[in-house]
């Protein structure tokens, strides 16, 4: 079978512009052949090159004294957590594959991010996921949702990694284009950091893991175009098939091999497979690499060089081994019954040279291919719809006449309701480290000796550490005000960490947007990156890496701009770990922060869950977050937690104060079918002159509900005053109902009913 001729149509089909093609000709000094065209097309896709977003990404804060490996250097960033230990973490999207084949698309998303982590030499210890779908009233959305959740469960459970937290939003804008962002965190010692560099001229290059097939051909390029009926159908073959059993073995074998010091460089074959792993490792080391495709294990007969180079078959790794240590690779991979092959060598040519049965099929300068993709400054224009958003006022919105009914509506809305239908399908406790399981503000895991990769010297125990993490994004806020909305995304993630007792260490973000060629979309991207960067700076949570997923739109339009932020923090002592639910009868319930932001004309109702669900309005300027005040709140909260008085802490976000209080009453789950319900008597009559819906359901930022024993309440108020944070006693815990009294009305709900609505909402929608 001969290669097709290079025509303008073929170039376009590969997602390359005429200008990009000229650039390729300039780099090569000649016409590319078919294989080379394929290689450039995947490496210069948005997914691999960030060609549309790189100038924006440069504005993120990426440095801190604790960062050992920074953003963009390697497959994942690494942060020092003290005592010679470090964590590696990253988030990555698998949106388009999940739209086409939800089970495998989501499963391989989990597999891919786990590989990014153990490639760094770290042992993966937990994952979290951020998911978005259309509304569950659509049968197609239910199919996608159940498929994605089952796919994540399949891969993570079998691999043996706990899925400890996440978020799930349901909004019409994601119909047909769900978002699946998977995060993984691993642990290692400082000296165990592995690098994805092809170092040492003459060192052999090994391929380990299962054979290469035709699955996942050019998935990176597929991810970098709009999703249409047609593209989805054509690209079904671009979705890979995951084998978590294989990945578990590959990981154990790689960590065992890394402990021998025989490895000079290691990289997974993720997006753009063999192509990306060879040219990136050579580019990082400033070397060249030569491989022979005839030596690559192949699953299908008669695969062409084009197919082998672009395949995204899963669970494969590229390992550069110090010359003379080849026997160790063989010994360890044979022990794990894994395929391996020596496929090439590191050279001094600076070129990526690919041979097939003696014939040279690709010859490209590695660094130019990996690092010199074109960079675009796209045109940006403020979206039209924002005029209407800013003009919207509460004048035409009548205050609530049925606060209890509204609360039930909100608690039963799948976006706010308990996600137990999701996380009970995930093993969230394997590895014996889940200190706070899904269902509180942030997950907390314990890191202990066996969280680390083995090492050659068999160093033993280490001090336990407690790591908190959370992924967040209120995309409606970002849609309604990209800059301010993005700030609140980061603030909410940081607030969730503070509620759990943690101090942020760093963050990783996944920028999910529509087509950047649309100036209005690019404006959303630019403005929200500005907000993210500013807020990450404010909370000392530098960005250590992440992923950009553009072209998230279907024929009905783009998704809401969704910059998902996963933030990771450290909790110094076990006794500082704090959960969101009320603990004891008779405790005082306090609010830290202002009950409502009176400077906000929307009183916190812009973009709120209340306006969306009760009034079917997705508009209004969303609540603003003052980063200085927010920081003061977190400092104060942590200081109160450290002093030992805080029994519970829960952030006020979607659904406002009433939803937050209800969750404090109903969210503790003792065991199957056994919730622990603890009521509350709340008196808000001190807060006068605020409409009832804004008081109960407004989403004013920088607020946290805490509970403390009654005798401590006065002390906590005094301490909050010293720390410069508004605080008020709202009431006390006790009984079996949530009762709220305010000047404008009252609310009284039986907790069993609230719990049933909240706990079972998604199961009912899926039944």
């Amino acid at each position: 079978m001969s290669d097709p001729a290079i025509t303008p149509a073929l170039i376009k089909q590969h997602g390359l512009t005429p200008e990009e093609y000229e650039r390729i000709q300039g780099i090569l000094g000649r016409e590319p052949n078919y294989t080379e065209l394929g290689i450039f097309s995947v490496m210069w896709s948005e997914h691999c090159s960030y060609k549309n977003s790189r100038p924006l990404l440069k504005t993120f804060p990426t440095k801190s004294p604790k960062i050992l490996v920074g953003a963009g250097e390697e497959n994942a960033g690494i942060i020092d957590i003290g005592d010679g230990l470090a964590i590696a973490f990253k988030i990555e999207s698998h949106n388009h594959p999940s739209a086409v084949e939800p089970f495998q698309g989501a499963a391989t998303g989990v597999g891919g991010i786990i590989r990014d982590i153990f490639t760094m030499g770290a042992r993966p210890v937990c994952s979290i996921d951020s998911l978005r779908f259309g509304e569950l009233t659509s049968p197609e959305v239910r199919r996608l949702f159940s498929g994605v959740v089952a796919g994540i469960a399949h891969y993570g459970n079998c691999f043996g990694i706990p899925t400890v937290a996440g978020e799930v939003y349901f909004d019409k804008s994601y119909e047909g284009n769900p978002l699946v962002n998977a995060f993984c965190l691993g642990v290692l010692r400082h000296e165990q950091i592995a690098r994805g560099a092809a170092k040492g001229i003459g060192n052999p290059v090994f391929y380990v893991g299962p054979a290469t097939g035709r699955d996942g051909l050019a998935g990176a390029a597929f991810a970098s175009q709009d999703l249409t009926e047609e593209s989805a159908e054509q690209q079904r073959g671009a979705v890979q098939v995951g084998d978590p059993f294989m990945e578990k073995l590959v990981m154990e074998a790689c960590l065992e091999l890394l402990a021998t010091d025989a490895v000079a460089g290691i990289q997974d074959m993720g997006a753009a497979g063999l192509t990306c792993s060879t040219c990136e490792t050579a580019a990082r080391a400033g070397t060249g690499i030569e491989i022979d495709l005839a030596k690559v294990p192949q699953r299908a007969p008669n695969m062409t060089p084009y197919e082998i180079m672009l395949s995204e078959s899963q669970e494969r790794m590229l390992i550069i081994v110090h010359k003379g240590r080849e026997a160790e690779v063989k010994r360890i991979f044979d022990k794990w019954d894994l395929p391996w092959a020596e496929v090439g060598t590191v050279t001094d040519t600076g070129r990526m040279m690919v041979k097939n049965r003696g014939e040279l099929v690709a010859d490209i300068p590695a660094k130019k291919l990996a690092d010199e993709a074109p960079i675009y400054q796209r045109e940006a224009r403020e979206p039209e719809y924002l005029k209407a958003v800013r003009a919207f006022t509460l004048a035409g919105v009548a205050d609530t006449q049925d606060a209890a009914g509204n609360l039930k509506t909100l608690l039963g809305w799948p976006t706010i309701a308990s996600k137990n239908w999701v996380y009970r399908q995930y093993d969230h406790m394997v590895r014996d480290g889940s200190v706070v399981c899904p269902g509180s503000d942030a997950a907390v895991i314990r890191i202990k000796a066996d969280s680390l990769p083995q090492d050659g010297e068999g160093k033993s125990a280490t001090v336990d550490k407690y790591i908190a993490m959370k992924v967040d994004c209120n995309a409606v806020y970002v849609y309604l005000d990209p800059y301010e909305g993005a700030k609140t995304v980061v603030a909410e993630a940081a607030r969730n960490l503070a509620c759990s007792g943690a101090t942020p260490l760093g963050s990783t973000d996944n920028l999910n947007y529509g087509n950047p060629h649309n100036p209005e979309i690019f404006w959303q991207l630019r403005e929200s990156v500005r907000g993210l960067a500013e807020a990450c700076r404010a909370f000392n949570a530098p960005v250590t890496g992440g992923n950009v997923s553009l072209y998230n739109q279907n024929p009905n339009g783009p998704i809401d701009p969704t910059p998902t932020v996963a933030m990771v923090g450290l909790i110094d002592k076990l006794e500082h770990v704090t959960t969101q639910w009320f603990k004891d009868e008779g405790d005082a319930i306090l609010l830290l922060g202002d009950v409502v932001d009176r400077n906000d004309p929307m009183l916190g109702l812009g973009g709120s869950a209340y306006l969306q669900r009760v009034h079917a309005l997705k508009t209004g300027t969303p609540p603003r977050c003052d980063l200085d005040r927010e920081k003061e709140l977190h400092l104060a909260l942590r200081s109160l937690i450290y002093s030992g008085v805080v029994k519970s802490a829960h952030d006020c976000s979607d659904g406002g104060l009433a939803v937050a209080l209800a969750e404090c009453c109903i969210s503790q789950q003792i065991a199957r079918e056994t919730p622990r319900l603890l009521g509350a008597e709340i008196d808000l009559s001190a807060f006068t002159g605020v409409r009832l819906d804004a008081l109960l359901f407004g989403e004013t930022q920088s607020r946290v509900v805490i509970s403390v024993s009654a005798v401590q309440a006065a002390k906590v108020l005094a301490q909050a005053k010293i720390l410069g944070v508004p605080a008020a006693v709202l009431g006390k815990t006790g009984g079996t109902a949530l009762n709220i009294k305010a000047n404008e009305g009252t609310l009284s709900c039986d907790l069993r009913e609230l719990h049933d609505l909240w706990w079972n909402a998604i199961a009912r929608a899926m039944a």
Partner: protein
């Protein structure tokens, strides 16, 4: 005591079992690779949870052919204690060391959550230290944990007091709602006729430290350690 914790390809609760036995309970525990043919100086064998061989064919169906399982068969035949947890329980059933089978949960979904289980008898090396009437709070995490056996086998299990643990509610009642997977008779775990081989779906190694929410699972390991120390089970080596 010396524990051998078997390690099959894609065992994934192996390190957790070692952690609890070694660091929480202070005993010697080591991982034993499935290609080994000897159990060495082991006083007891733990077959841990996970997805041996990916569970692609049928849970535990391939693991039972691993070389180490021959050694386990011989060890069990001499009266050595063997405890299978989750996938380990499934492997022991496939290996014929325990009767019955574990089939797909009736929800058709994987379930990970805390459940309550009650020891049905104190008469076993795995339950002797569980106080009478105590309801244990221990997590499950499985997709195929629905215990099934024909009526004859169930009758025999009952007659010989081989049902060791049953799913219950907080008050210890064996209700249908408390049964997370549809197991016959709310069975969470059983033992063989000689009472030296047992398996259960819940994960006691995930409930052995207060910081993980429950330490009730320790009672199961402590029962086994007590039995070994008082020599009420054979030292098979």
């Amino acid at each position: 005591m010396n524990f051998a914790v078997l390690q099959f390809p894609a065992s994934n609760c192996d390190q957790d079992a070692v952690h609890v036995l070694r660091n929480v309970l202070g005993h010697s525990a080591r991982l034993l690779w499935h290609k080994e043919t000897s159990l060495g100086n082991a006083d007891a064998v733990i077959v841990p949870g996970g997805f041996s061989y990916g569970d692609y064919l049928r849970t535990g169906a391939i693991a039972r052919f691993s070389p180490v399982m021959q050694a386990v068969q011989a060890f069990a035949a001499k009266g050595g204690p063997v405890l299978g947890i989750c996938n380990g329980f499934q492997i022991l059933c496939e290996a014929g060391l325990l009767p019955g089978a574990l089939i797909r949960n009736r929800s058709l979904q994987f379930r990970c959550e805390h459940v309550f289980v009650k020891a049905a008898t104190a008469n076993s090396p795995f339950t002797s230290q569980i106080p009478d009437g105590k309801v244990l709070r221990i997590p499950i995490a499985h997709g195929e944990g629905c215990y099934f056996a024909d009526a004859e086998t169930i009758a025999r299990l009952k007659a010989q007091n081989q049902i060791l643990w049953q799913y219950a509610d907080a008050q210890g009642e064996l209700t249908d709602v408390a049964n997370p997977n549809g197991s016959v008779e709310n069975i969470a775990g059983i033992c063989n006729e000689s009472r030296n081989v047992a398996g259960l779906m819940p994960h006691p190694e995930r409930a052995s430290e207060g910081l993980l929410g429950s330490a009730d699972g320790r009672l199961i390991f402590e029962s086994l350690i007590h039995a070994l120390e008082s020599k009420s089970v054979a030292k098979a080596a």
